[in-house]
Symmetry: D2
Subunit: 336 residues, 4 copies
């Protein structure tokens, strides 16, 4: 049984605590939370775990082998570094850290210390994204052409970051998981409207050498809640609509074939459309976070890299950082 | 009765011919179309109009006072210039011309010659866009924050242009009509995927000095047909979903208020959300193109500038040209 | 080439005329229509057909081998009987006749005279219903359990009939086509609301010996346009949503299995649910009426019974008549 | 502070317990539940309440002034009668009792004993139904014409009752609440398909002297989850779609006006359609059951009849009983 300490019992911490508790092989031994009211709530719900104010004591406990970090982004690095240096396995809420150097430093420390460092890219563990990955791996979509993502609603404004670090982290993690090719550059445009200090609307473009294109629309000020990803392939295209209660992933047997004939005299392109059946596969409906916790436990037990490992965390942070950099540079393309 | 000559009887020409025929004050006197089979079709449907092969003869006819041009984009300039120089009023299918200099030159010629030059920005005449404009003008939305547009489907590929000149022309014309502020710059990213020679996926961002942001997603390779515009204001936000058969425009009484308190010691922002009723106004269901034809007739008869005048045509062409320029320059922001 | 005469150029007549004209093997030779303005319209659109006022002359023409009847229901019987008696093949707009005796008499006359009598149950020829029938025939749904149909909207009121004869005729024809078992009884309830003289809301239940149940909701006073059929089987269930622009038929791999154990002491029923993939097959998008016309031509040429023959017409009229009878008898079950 | 005892901690009991606990003026003092595992669950969640096996002891407790019953339908009568006879106020989960005589007997006992008897018609307390009632009361819909309800899905089969007593109880309670006129008769048709012992598909028609018609479709075997009510009025019509996450109630400014002219010679009816705006009012999103508990507390404290009183419970049970009676009598109309 691996004893786990959880740091942070704010918005996401309670979900982690509940799932850690229910995971075979893990024991939630302690919860650190500074705010007394939240700490009392944690103590009430998890009588088996010691609730304390400071993270340091928890990290210091010899019997605790693993630390889960669910605190504000700015604190990820220091907490994770301290835990790794004490030889603990670490699971960090997304994004892994507030900058690429921080993320890379954590990855190196974990490598050097021989502990597992995992990032909670929750969406990667949903039934929908796992099905999408399986379809991609099986070649069902053919060569991939583009991924277009929209994640907008009238959302809770983050006080300490813009909409990119808050919302786009989800979708970039999905992109990173689905697309084997590695991107070469990032552009972003956005605006801080309605008197807010950080950007609350942003558009990110992720460029690939092959011509594949990723695009992300994140917006805290939309009247509708839209959570939709289009993934286009040469053979088939799919739509992941997270707002659909029953058929979240729909695979369309649609495509376009070009018969390019670059004859000098008769420049011609023959386009043939293909529209066929639509298929909505059954999805695993288990809570994604329970699979995150189980993967953390397994990776520790089996002494192997987790599915969403430090490298994935570094890649997503690199994309976020480049996107913000481009935002500050009038949308200039930032090489990765 | 104003005698009108129509040049071009391909995809859009038949719609123009039908509406010109039904417009009080106009008489469709001649149709020029090079392809014999299309010309025969035109002759059969419009026995009152002379069908001919060449545009020159039609432009030369003394009794024809107005010319409507529905030919490929590359030919707009030469045909319109010839017609204007012969003293004809001219209505050109969107976009007005293939470049900003061409568009400006046409506008100047028309001004100098004292004839009406109108561009067929059809969407501006739909019940939905007119209602949106009325809501904006009445201040119902409050200060405008952003316009986000998606126009994607498995579309007919244009052989001689990319998806921007084909699809975005519609949405940029809507933007131009709804937003009184003039944009300062344009960025665009895109890709020519699946072996096609022109970009078939593109994202355009239009920048404004006030912080207002316009964004456009156009895509010929999407499995779903999406035609949606979000228009966000400080007071209310609206959604124009052109695929909805009954309620195309929905106005949401939703918004966010910031009570910014830039106290040095306690940086704080109080955000209060407002969510109220939703309202879908009844829309005029008349065919937009019938109103285009009527506006052309009225502008000529009343010797006044039409609603979608040469200046609007120049502005939209400028946006398209800047978008394409940015596309060639890795998404660099192009000043207008 | 079979010469065809069309009687009636009101609402449905123009659609029939257009499709008859485009059908190989048929020639639209004459159109009879009493109203001068409609007759002029017909003459303009179909210059190859003789337009006349009275049906009698048309029926008398020796060279005309087939008659298509698109007149008000009350006139179907007399016109069809006259045509049959003159040895013409006859296609009648749905429903076949205004009463079961009339419909049966027509069927007998056609049989005796050796001519084809076909009823235009248009929906039977749609890609959606043909696909549904193919799925049923292939046993994809397993044993059939129920068919539930809703056809409501703010509809045009018929002056001379109630909503059953107008709308339910469509759905009962679909039922008749999909379900091989023959029904044993019909019940119906309804109301004539808002001061109208005929029922404008009605509910029809069709009973089968096996326990299979058919139910139909027809309503001219609904704020939404709903055209939906649920067809439940033991293995799978399907939904036909005619308002869906892209996926009209969806097959759900859902079902319930009962493991009934009638143990005296422990009455128990074990229910296991099955929910699997959803599949929306590609449908033939050809206009159904073009297939109606082609079937009429083929049945004549091949001297065989058409898909929607007189017997189908009689069965649907019998259901309609029984439904109306039940409506007059407080919903009492009327045996067929 | 009113001490409350809850009997039954199965499916609905936990929701009642949670809301009773959170209601000002109420104190959940005891929970009776026969099954040890469920009782342990209740004890863990509600440490302030005494958990016991038998209901009798709980009903006997002097300090408990009110009893809430959430047990299987067959036990409602005996438990409620015992509680009333001991002078307790009683809240019973819907439906009030298993037969009309039982329901009426309970109502009389409560009247005689001077205690409050309330039925938990939960839907009556939803924001949607309260808004609908407000619109009806304000005359916004004009004269009411019909109510059509569909409540279907792949549902949990009840072992001891058919789909009417399970699902239709909700919708008949909504009908009873919205429509002031009292119905005169009920018809019902249904079927027990797929080898199940009770009807799992049913259609109920509720008849009114005015011509108003109520209709209810309940089905445990549908591939889609549909929860929709159409309420038609002469002035406006509304749709309550409980599956819509954001706009559950939509009011359509649609209607039909008849100008009936019963001229002997020229029987004519002029129908004019009206289609206007659609409006989706903001709804109170508070949990309905919290308002049920608050109403129970207030009715006791203020010594007044609750909103969903014994009379409402009797009316709904009468409708259910009549529906089942009609089901057994081939759909014959059963007078109320």
């Amino acid at each position: 049984m691996i004893k786990v300490g959880l740091i942070g019992y704010g918005y996401w911490g309670p979900n982690l605590a509940r799932n850690l508790t229910n995971t075979i092989g893990l024991e939630l031994a302690a919860i650190a939370e500074e705010r007394p009211d939240r700490r009392a709530l944690a103590a009430g719900r998890h009588p088996g775990a010691v609730a304390c104010a400071g993270a340091a004591a928890l990290i210091d406990r010899e019997d605790i082998a693993a630390i889960v970090i669910a605190t504000p982004l700015a604190t990820h690095y220091a907490l994770a570094a301290a835990a790794i240096d004490r030889g603990k396995h670490v699971l960090v809420e997304k994004p892994l850290a507030a900058s690429r150097p921080e993320a890379e430093d954590l990855a190196e420390r974990a490598e050097a210390r021989g502990v597992r460092l995992m990032v909670d890219h929750t969406f990667v563990y949903t039934g929908a994204v796992r099905k999408m990955r399986a379809l991609v791996d099986a070649g069902e979509l053919g060569d991939l052409l583009y991924l277009d993502s929209v994640r907008v609603n009238l959302g809770l404004f983050q006080q300490d970051s813009n909409v990119i670090w808050d919302l786009a982290a989800h979708d970039l993690a999905i992109l990173d998981h689905l697309i084997a090719e590695r991107p070469v550059a990032v552009s972003a445009n956005g605006s801080a409207v309605a008197g807010y200090r950080h950007e609350n609307i942003a558009y990110i473009t992720v460029h690939y050498a092959s011509g594949f294109l990723g695009h992300f629309h994140v917006n805290w000020l939309a009247p509708l809640k839209i959570r939709q990803i289009l993934l286009g392939g040469r053979q088939r295209m799919l739509v992941f609509d997270d707002m659909d209660p029953s058929e979240k992933v729909r695979v369309y047997d649609k495509g376009v074939d070009f018969d390019v004939q670059d004859d000098e005299t008769r420049r011609q392109i023959l386009v043939s459309y293909r529209t066929g059946d639509m298929h909505a596969p059954k999805l695993d409906r288990r809570e994604a976070l329970s699979l995150v916790a189980a993967e953390f436990a397994s990776a520790i037990a089996e002494n192997r890299s987790p599915l969403t490992d430090a490298a994935a965390g570094v890649r997503v942070v690199s994309l976020l950082e480049a996107a913000e950099c481009s935002l500050r540079a009038e949308g200039r393309r930032i090489a990765l």
